[in-house]
């Protein structure tokens, strides 16, 4: 059971940051709330009384998204369902809808934010691999007495371990900025015990862009989650495939190498068996969709 001594709903970023700067020890930021409420239950944190909850869902500056050239900036309040319901976002970030459909369920996606998923830094977070693949960066802001101070950080550097990030005291995530990947084919693969509401045993995000002949990899983005303390971008495999012809044998060989990346604490043998298959499936599906994308254009 979660109770708050104070619950604030700031309307602007300066208000939110000022509250956060002065927050008593134990205060928490509340984004979608889909993780904090299940956390305060028996078997996890138990009954928790927090001195202050700062609910960010009405902060104007955190709403919406905008594109700047080859990058799209997502306000921290963008929720997972937006990647399924907003055709523009789906086109710019083609891997996100495929990830979103596996994320929790239709209802939780209406509340849960991408930024919240990144900040929670679960090793099995579904959101981190696609964000790594899209060279994701966070804008981290804090209150400096009379103005807002922001810095940017790559998500790859931000997540340091299970539940651990480089978020400094007084900071909050203002936005997530990603590469636009129009024209890429994308895939998200996940293994878990059921389809909805399941924690990934392993998940992989892949993006493929083909050259003008439609037969060679012009660009490949690949990231793996759930198999170690932090999700990982597989640059060596990307480099191995770039410029090469799209070939089932080559993909299978490259995918086979991913078994060695499994560094989980549990079910290591199982994960080593499934991960190469999922990487292969992801690359093949992404390449296939890239082909269709090219035919479409």
């Amino acid at each position: 059971m979660l109770t708050f001594d104070r619950y604030e709903m700031p309307a602007t970023l300066p208000e939110a940051l000022a509250l956060w700067a002065d927050a008593p020890a134990g205060a928490r930021l509340v984004a979608g709330a889909t993780d904090i409420l299940p956390w305060a239950r028996e078997g996890r944190a138990g009954d928790v009384d927090l001195p202050l909850g700062i609910d960010l869902s009405r902060v104007a500056e955190l709403q919406g998204y905008e594109r700047h050239g080859g990058r799209v900036r997502l306000g921290a309040n963008v929720v997972w369902q937006d990647f399924l319901d907003t055709p523009e976002l789906a086109r710019w970030l083609p891997v996100m809808p495929y990830c979103a459909v596996w994320f929790a369920d239709d209802q939780i996606r209406q509340q849960a934010t991408l930024a919240g998923n990144l900040v929670n830094a679960s090793p099995a977070a579904d959101g981190t691999p696609p964000v790594l693949a899209l060279n994701g960066e966070l804008e981290l802001c804090r209150w400096a007495g009379d103005h807002i101070l922001c810095r940017t950080m790559r998500v790859e550097d931000f997540v340091t371990g299970p539940g651990a990030t480089r978020l400094a005291p007084g900071e909050l995530v203002n936005s997530v900025t990603l590469d636009c990947a129009d024209g890429y084919g994308a895939s998200f693969q996940k293994v878990g015990q059921r389809r909805s509401l399941v924690i990934s045993v392993a998940c992989v995000a892949a993006l493929v862009k083909l050259d003008e002949t439609g037969t060679r990899f012009a660009d490949v983005r690949l990231a793996l989650g759930g198999v170690g303390p932090v999700p990982e971008r597989l640059r060596d495999i990307e480099d191995r495939l770039k410029g090469e012809p799209v070939d089932a044998r080559l993909i299978a060989d490259a995918a086979a190498a991913t078994a060695a990346r499994v560094a989980s604490r549990s079910r290591i043998e199982y994960r080593r068996r499934v991960v190469p298959g999922f990487v292969r499936a992801a690359l093949e599906e992404a390449a296939d969709r890239a082909r269709k994308e090219a035919a479409h254009a």
Binding site: E42, S57, A104, D106
Partner: protein, 625 residues
């Protein structure tokens, strides 16, 4: 507690309340507005019984602080149709028989409503995918999905509204879909389960549970909890006025731990307070001193000489042993061409009914102690409680509230006694609603079992003898173990005529969570062993698995394992139907996996994936991907 003026629209009406902004929207709707069609099944976003629309978007209200709904337009299940009426989806649920216990149904109706608003042309696969956030434990989902598809067809004009009308029944109901009488109250959320019921001046109970599996209770100090503002009473085993002890067969379980605890999660004390939060805070003020005792966690260990004794009345730790003897197994095994030996184990299983245990007790004007709860055994509970509280039977009343799923798990009186004691101590109504975690930790489970199996067969596949020895983990209390062992023994060797058999089923006490009644009542564990043995025998003897079963099956005139002469037996028809439905490839079961011709094809399910919504839609709207 913080306080905020919340202004919102609920089911088309303006609502203004001063309330705690940090409370869950679920609690605000249920407690402040009494809209109890929105249920709580898990409190962790896993089950979907609390789904509501917030500004047109379906969300899980257990995951939303009420403040997030400030200014929003809320629609709950009560707002779908006019009072007394049903909308198309509710009518479809009524028509197809989609509601069974009904506890998940308001959430299912809401999820279906969301689908037909968002994707009115959704395919069956897309319907299933979009309902992934809602869990049902009764139906197996078929009738729910059927209802959504029916509603879709009516909404999109593919089916006439007359398809929602009840089927015409002629002289017989057999072969017809007969609508459930209670469905309208379930599909509208109108039906009140125990946790939905309120009475004036009602107190709320929370239970202190044991962190130890086996420990002596040296002392319980409740004084600090009792002194807290808002606490009406604290009860322990000392408050039991009569002869403590309940159980389906042996009355070995006290209302609350008496002298020692026997499993993790056993009730030790309970608080009744003005609200749940106060009651839960008071639990932390109760001081219990324990002295840990050596525990038993494996049923084999329970039978070892010198094993710790869990109940004084049962120094051998045996809850019940059921032996069955028929014929002469020595002669049977001597006549066998093949003797197979194997061991089969099954695990503990939780019922996971969507309605966590809940109850409401009060003492009425005639001093009748009344308990309302989804008990699956109210008459027995009434008799036991009368002894426990030392009141004549006419001063004890049990009212059975709608059972939001039981499956055997609500046969045990694990909390009704505490409610009665608190009501008697305060003369105020007292309600207890388990959390999901509490339900899992404190309620009985399916018996984990181990079967040592020996089966003799002739070359032709006729069973000549069976030795069947099942050891079951009964956990800390007897509950239904005796009956489960009896049923497991009676059904042990399956629907096969076996002339020589020796069957023993035994349940023992351990310090694990108690085992109790669960659908099939021991039959499942026994059949898993027997049917597996028969498949192994078919493979070893080169026989078709259906054929070997036919050679052994009971027929009219057969003697059962307990030597009852059968007038009829239907196993032959069952085998024929199963063989046809599975498109079985005849022959010995030596082929595996993709080599078999009967895997895949019609009637089999494609590998599990998601993404039906990415398929091209017919509505012409731009869809993602």
């Amino acid at each position: 507690m913080p306080d905020m003026k919340l202004e919102l629209q609920v089911n088309g009406r303006k609502v203004t309340r001063r309330a705690d902004p940090g409370q869950r929207l679920l609690d605000f709707l249920r407690d402040e507005l009494n809209l109890t069609g929105t249920k709580e099944g898990c409190g962790a976003g896993e089950c979907g019984t609390c789904s509501v629309f917030v500004d047109g978007k379906l969300v899980k209200s257990c995951l939303m602080p009420a403040a997030k709904a400030q200014g929003a337009d809320i629609q709950t299940v009560e707002g779908l149709a006019r009072p007394g009426d049903l909308d198309v989806i509710q009518k479809a649920f009524h028509k197809t028989g989609a509601s069974q216990c009904g506890y998940c149904i308001p959430g299912m109706v809401m999820a279906a409503t969301s689908i037909l608003r968002e994707a009115p042309e959704a395919s069956l696969d897309e319907i299933k995918e979009r309902m992934g956030g809602n869990i049902c434990r009764c139906t197996g989902y078929s009738k729910i999905i059927e209802a959504v598809a029916l509603a879709r067809d009516v909404v999109t004009g593919r089916a006439s509204p007359a398809a929602l009308d009840p089927e015409t029944v002629g002289d017989s109901f057999i072969g017809h879909n007969v609508r459930r009488l209670d469905a309208p109250s379930k599909v509208t959320g109108r039906l009140k389960y125990a946790g939905d019921m309120v009475m004036p001046d009602m107190l709320h109970m929370a239970v202190l549970r044991s962190p130890h599996a086996h420990a002596e209770i040296l002392s319980i100090d409740t004084s600090e909890a009792e002194a807290m503002d808002g606490v009406a009473c604290v009860i322990t085993a000392d408050d039991v006025p009569g002869k403590d002890g309940f159980g389906v067969f042996v009355h070995d379980q006290p209302i609350m731990a008496r002298g020692k605890v026997r499993h993790v999660g056993e009730a030790v004390a309970a608080v009744a307070a003005e609200d749940v939060a106060t009651a839960r805070r008071a639990l932390k003020k109760i001081k219990v001193e324990y002295r840990e005792l050596p525990g038993l966690y494996d049923p084999e260990d329970a039978l070892q000489p010198g094993a710790p004794v869990i109940h004084d009345y049962a120094p051998d730790n045996v809850v019940k042993h059921i032996p069955i003897r028929k014929g002469d197994i020595e002669a049977g095994f001597a006549a066998a061409d093949l003797i197979l030996e194997d061991e089969f184990t099954t695990q503990q299983v939780e019922h996971a009914y969507l309605e966590p245990e809940a109850g409401l007790a009060y003492v009425d004007a005639d001093d009748v102690v009344t308990v309302i709860s989804p008990s699956q055994n109210i008459t027995h509970h009434r008799h036991m409680l009368s002894e426990i509280i030392a009141r004549p039977i006419n001063k004890v009343r049990f009212i059975m509230s709608p059972v939001g799923g039981g499956f055997g798990g609500k046969e045990d009186m694990i909390y009704q006694g505490m409610l009665a004691l608190a009501a008697m101590k305060t003369y105020r109504p007292v309600r207890l609603v388990f959390t999901r975690e509490e339900s899992i930790i404190a309620s009985a489970k399916r018996h984990p079992s181990r079967v040592k199996y020996r089966m003799g067969l002739t070359k032709e596949g006729r069973i000549t003898a069976i030795k069947f020895d099942m050891l079951s983990d009964g956990g800390a209390y007897g509950m239904s173990s005796e009956g489960v062992m009896r049923k497991a023994a009676i059904l042990s060797c399956g629907p096969y005529e076996v002339e020589n058999l020796q069957v023993d089923t035994t349940a023992v006490y351990t310090n694990n969570t108690p085992s109790g009644a669960f659908r099939t009542f021991g039959g499942m564990q026994a059949q898993f062993a027997t049917e597996s043995m028969i498949d192994i025998a078919a493979e070893r003897l080169g026989l078709d698995p259906f054929e070997i079963r036919r050679r052994n099956m009971m027929r009219a005139g057969s003697l059962t394992h307990t030597q009852q002469k059968l007038d009829s037996a239907s196993i032959g028809r069952v085998l024929a139907a199963a063989e046809a439905a599975s498109r079985w490839e005849p022959g010995a079961p030596r082929m595996r996996g993709p080599e078999r011709g009967d895997l895949g094809g019609p009637g089999t399910r494609a590998p599990c994936t998601l993404g039906a919504r990415f398929e091209a839609s017919k509505d012409g709207k731009e869809r993602v991907a």
